[in-house]
Symmetry: C2
């Protein structure tokens, strides 16, 4: 067995995440795409940038494992996290000009990603039907819904509401196939990073989390872990309805 073949075997469970891209493709096209993704597999350590702002960026970036933040920052260094991505999510790091990234794509944990560059995409397009874009559109619709809900609260709601919402959002996104909220989960973000996500200072994140915790809504005693003890109460503070939110954020693949 060649070294590459061994590597591909070892990583096969990761590339399986790409099933969402290859679905509906004919077998030949699907295997060509899988091979491309296996070739472009990349492991990135916690805290490193997967793509830096202003760098050349792939057109499509696939998260296979770990947590990824899409960040933008002001000249004074203040960071805002535009969106968070988990395993199986699709990141489109380029804005209009389709070459250079307008964002920092940051590894919040050790991460495994794969990617498709613009030229590779053009090569595929020649031979493969663009069924793939349908999956990309679904993911983009979910991302739009997430960003809109967060923007609403960032612009109009209190710190308590913003944080409660962030927790509810992550809780729902992590719930997976079975439709029960995952009310206890690892949250590999520092309070600083939670603040970057919700537009708050780390100090105020701390205060507000403790307040939620004192109200008996969450339990943060274990480090880097959140237990939601009263999801209805938390959803109330987040100004969210769980069912509605779920249908927005977890829309099925079309």
């Amino acid at each position: 067995m060649s070294q590459i073949a061994v590597m591909e075997k070892k990583n096969s469970h990761l590339v399986d995440q790409s099933a969402l891209l290859t679905r509906d493709m004919d077998a030949a096209a699907a295997s060509r795409l899988s091979a491309l993704l296996a070739k472009n597999l990349r492991r990135v350590q916690v805290g490193a940038d997967i793509v830096a702002e202003g760098e050349d960026a792939p057109t499509i970036l696939l998260v296979l494992e770990g947590w990824v933040a899409l960040n933008k920052s002001l000249q004074n260094g203040q960071i805002q996290t535009i969106d968070l991505f988990l395993a199986s999510d699709i990141i489109l790091p380029t804005s209009g000009d389709a070459l250079v990234s307008a964002y920092d794509v940051h590894a919040l944990t050790d991460v495994v990603v794969s990617s498709i560059s613009r030229v590779e995409l053009d090569d595929l397009e020649i031979s493969d039907p663009p069924k793939m874009w349908s999956a990309v559109r679904t993911h983009e619709a979910r991302a739009r819904a997430r960003v809109a809900e967060r923007t609403l609260r960032l612009g109009q709601a209190s710190a308590e509401t913003r944080l409660a919402y962030a927790l509810i959002e992550l809780c729902l996104r992590l719930e997976g196939a079975q439709h029960i909220p995952k009310d206890a989960f690892d949250l590999p973000l520092t309070q600083q990073q939670i603040g970057e996500y919700s537009g708050l200072s780390s100090v105020h994140v701390c205060r507000t989390l403790r307040r939620l915790s004192r109200q008996g809504l969450i339990d943060t005693s274990e480090n880097n872990r959140v237990v939601i003890t009263d999801i209805q109460g938390l959803a109330g503070i987040a100004d969210a309805e769980l069912d509605v939110l779920r249908s927005e954020l977890l829309a099925p693949d079309v």
Copy 2:
């Protein structure tokens, strides 16, 4: 001439905006799509909702004339404008479930729109190559860039920066084909609505606009009209570089 034919003639300059969708299609497909858009043409008055939150929504909504706001609101009635759309922009009002809108789509001026519903889209897809999606993706990339830039400032920047940025953004989007910023333009928003766009109260919008005006950066003496008198200065306060921003927001159609 039949009445419908007359109407289609009268509206032809509007449907021409759809050239961006039909580009690269073969003539037959293009004319079928144009006919569909002409059939679905709709005029909406200032202040009316084009699509209300929770209603069935078209998959693609095309703005042919006027200004449109994509709004979300909290239970207490507070409104946040997620994005603004001008003539020739494409709105994707559905989130995940692809049927019901998660937004209010609101006419800020008298507006002409057209739309393609999910079923119409499926019908087209059968016969027409999905070249159209390429245009949609381009527009979506621009929309993502806009939302990201605004989210960054909504989360991290002062009222002055947010407002300066909003003006710069609109100024660039209105500049059109020639690459000179349109430094004087009609702004058909009340200060209340500017506040909904930038996450500020109408009172503070007023104060901040006056401050910008006192600094000699803008002139708002004429009602519903903005003249940018020092675009470099304004860009400085907005924490933006005009060239970079332009390439993000006005990316060419691929």
